[in-house]
Symmetry: C2
Subunit: 316 residues, 2 copies
């Protein structure tokens, strides 16, 4: 399948390069972990370790970004590169993505986990053509797990297990979704205790999703489980690489901010560069619905249960 200026052969080559690059970058992350674990010398003030950790992690983040950037700019000088640095300036990525083939990378997703050597961290490398994420590579080096996809080639775990990791044929979303679903969400960094602020709106949304059916003015969702891994990429809730892999596997990604009319608003693909994503797993048909219909029904049921969030600060 050709996309923009790229033949499938072109894409296959770029895909192989991205997978290799993801693994190498992940190896760098693990080398730094090993250094931190074994670095027993020259630290008389061991109780200051935590401050040191944050500095070390920031440095690692930057170093791995430079490593990935250099590799991509050398191999593909005509492509555009967007890293954490561009994002950290507070710009919406919306405006940074144009017609040019663009790499969108996060050298270290799950920074807090990495700081604490909690295994859920990863390298995330996405390739975007004509505003569509078409190649995705997510590598979690601690557990040596690689999720990847390329348009036309499917989505894979460790290059051998086809995604989604559910029954074949893929089942529909449950009839009473979000009940019987796993609900993945993140608490985020905005912890201000403002009555109707983002943190409390999130909590209200989470509790709606969790509470028994029939409760909370009909909003009780009784999800099967509530999960927070601390890595938006591993939650499959964020950014280019995750979107590429989810979409290639048959998932749906749209906005988590409910529109005014949750029953009838069109369910549009989310724009990369927005801040709030709702990802629904791949789904097959039920007796009465197409797979897409079961996903869209689930989107509307989630929208009924969650509050709008407002983010004006970067990183919040």
């Amino acid at each position: 399948m050709a996309i923009g200026p790229f033949t499938q052969d072109d894409l296959d080559e770029i895909y192989a390069f991205a997978v290799d690059l993801g693994r190498k970058a992940g190896k760098l992350l693990m080398e730094r972990v090993d250094q931190r674990i074994s670095d027993a010398n020259g630290r008389p003030n061991s109780f200051e370790e935590k401050e040191n950790s944050v500095d070390i992690v920031t440095q690692t983040d930057e170093d791995v970004e430079v490593f990935i950037r250099n590799a991509l700019e050398t191999k593909y000088p005509s492509h555009k590169f967007l890293g954490e640095e561009a994002y950290a300036k507070g710009q919406s990525r919306n405006y940074l993505i144009d017609e040019q083939p663009t790499w969108c990378i996060d050298p270290l997703d799950g920074t807090v986990n990495y700081t604490h050597i909690f295994p859920m961290f990863c390298v995330s490398i996405g390739f975007i053509v004509q505003h569509k994420p078409i190649i995705g590579v997510i590598y979690a080096p601690f557990t040596d797990q690689l999720w990847s996809s390329c348009s036309g080639r499917g989505a894979w775990l460790n290059e051998t297990r086809r995604l989604p990791l559910i029954h074949n044929p893929t089942p529909p979303m449950p009839a009473n979704a979000p009940s019987q679903c796993i609900f993945s969400c993140e608490w985020g960094k905005d912890r201000r205790d403002i009555p109707d602020g983002n943190m409390h709106r999130k909590i209200e949304s989470f509790v709606n999703m969790a509470a028994e059916v029939g409760s909370r003015n009909g909003r009780g969702g009784m999800v099967h489980g509530v999960r927070s891994l601390g890595s938006a990429t591993l939650d499959l809730a964020d950014i280019a690489a995750g979107a590429a892999i989810l979409l290639e596997a048959g998932g749906l990604m749209t906005t988590a901010n409910p529109p005014d009319d949750v029953d009838t608003a069109p369910i549009e693909d989310v724009r990369l560069g927005s801040r709030l994503y709702l990802a629904i797993r791949p789904a097959g048909p039920s007796a009465t619905e197409t797979g897409r219909e079961t996903q869209e029904r689930t989107v509307r049921e989630v929208w009924r249960r969650v509050r709008n969030l407002e983010y004006s600060r970067p990183g919040a």
Copy 2:
């Protein structure tokens, strides 16, 4: 180190047997996952998969328990065995653990994750002598990660990385803990929307831990991250194997239900068989405190922020 009737040589042999058994049981769990993923035939009603999944998972849980039980009873006929079955009867494990050497196992921890083929599930095998967990084996087959410990032999990841996975020497708990800590918690199954019920008490506790310092009448804990993996064992918050490994690595485990006087109540080792655990990571000394003191200070700070929970129903 000898414990009860066991020499260190005895313990080493039992430990090796438990590690091997954990790996074999995990392999069984993965075989069933592979069957479920590839089982495309003979299922005309594919939309009924979810109900089927739950049955299949229950069957797997039972089969793996029988496998582990048979292996242990054949090898160690004089030891006592406690599995899910004993627990499911609603008895507190408190009363089930006596002076006899006892195996306490969970064939499938993270059942909901397993049902959804979300990688965080594991086999958990603990060995208890004189009320103390002295051998622990936790094997997560999806990511091929094995945590294990034996009294006198340390705690390990994949038998090669010594735990805890933090700096050497082990840093103290942060001066302003729980700030700068990762807080792992589980939403659980009790989703009743009762104003002062368990779910809302939990949420209040979680929000206290997360909110910025200074907020919520001084209870804002501003933890670095809030995590929910859906596997109490992998959270290191539960049961015999987890306790064995945590304690061998230098961690502390006590009750999560705050006593009446959080400032002065003794911090006792939690009794296996209770329902609510608070686990604190291994910690070294600060300039002014022993490692244990930094842990105990953190326990009291957590107790200040969490509500008592009441569990009268099994599985709630």
